[in-house]
């Protein structure tokens, strides 16, 4: 059974925002709603990294756990979707999501929060596949057409991979093997700036913090 996932190769992402544009265009997303966005770490600093972020279609999705009206469901392909007819726009899912994926269209002078909108992995929603009702509420259903998400397929550098988790992990592994670097871009060293890790910055005062428990400092230094 396929488990649909996204994987963004931070070594390749050039912050061109074509994934964001593709998503917006494909699903006719209104102004103010960003199902996908590009986040840059250490912007302007040599060694900056950009990653494209949207709903990660978690295996154990916290949004599903906190939804008071149980409007979330998961497809056989592992795509987390929701029923907008049930959504009450409470925003619990937004607080629960570690990626900030749930979006809320704001209408009116006082910013009345509408029903939640998020990345569907281009899988539409519970309306009939490829119907107008589905497009209006959830956007285009590319999976039903045998296609992968528009953001991944439009990515200019193929930094953003989408598809079955096993398949895209193999593609990423193949890529890292060929270029001989970049495998360390993701991981503890980058996230917590372990000295020597990608994106590491010299600690103030020269005092090096101890390496993370259970991890060795990643090989290679900061790349420009």
């Amino acid at each position: 059974m396929a488990r649909m996932k996204f994987l963004c190769d931070a070594e390749r992402c050039i912050e061109c925002n074509s994934c964001v544009t593709a998503c917006k265009q494909e699903h006719d997303i209104p102004w103010g709603v960003n199902r996908r966005r590009v986040v840059t770490l250490n912007d302007g600093v040599p060694g900056e990294r950009s990653i494209s972020v949207a709903c990660m279609h978690c295996s154990d999705a916290p949004c599903m756990a906190v939804c008071p009206v149980d409007c979330f469901y998961k497809t056989e392909e592992g795509v987390v979707l929701h029923d907008k007819d049930l959504c009450i726009g409470c925003g619990y899912c937004f607080y629960a999501c570690p990626f900030g994926a749930p979006q809320f269209p704001q209408t009116g002078a006082f910013g009345v929060r509408g029903k939640m909108d998020k990345c569907t992995f281009c899988a539409g929603g519970p309306e009939p596949d490829r119907s107008n009702a589905e497009f209006v509420k959830y956007g285009r259903n590319r999976l039903a057409e045998g296609k992968l998400p528009a953001c991944a397929e439009m990515c200019s550098t193929k930094a953003l991979l989408g598809g079955d988790g096993e398949v895209i992990a193999n593609i990423y592994r193949d890529r890292v093997t060929h270029r001989g670097k970049g495998g360390e871009v993701w991981g503890w060293a980058t996230a917590y700036k372990v000295p020597g890790g990608a994106g590491a910055t010299p600690p103030p005062g020269g005092a090096a913090p101890p390496p993370a428990p259970g991890t060795a400092p990643a090989a290679g230094g900061t790349k420009s």
Partner: protein, 76 residues
């Protein structure tokens, strides 16, 4: 004797109460397909052009996924 017995009962009750605090319920909710409150959804391969042929849909998705790997494309 009675005091000793009641002391034992109180002690056992206190111990049980204290240990109850150590109990941990599973935090992960297992969701089942179609068990949510909303409308049921159909699998992606149900309608045209795949008309329920899951194998054909799987192949189409896999082909598209492999197109993301330019190392494979370059070898062709």
């Amino acid at each position: 004797m009675l005091a000793r017995k009641s002391l034992f009962v109180i002690g056992a009750a206190t111990l049980a109460l204290a240990l109850a605090g150590c109990g941990e319920r599973p935090q992960v909710i297992n969701y089942k397909q179609g068990k949510y409150q909303g409308k049921p959804d159909t699998p992606a391969f149900t309608n045209a052009p795949f008309n329920g042929n899951k194998q054909q849909w799987d192949n189409a998705i896999d082909t598209r996924a492999q197109e993301q790997n330019e190392y494979v494309r370059l070898r062709d």
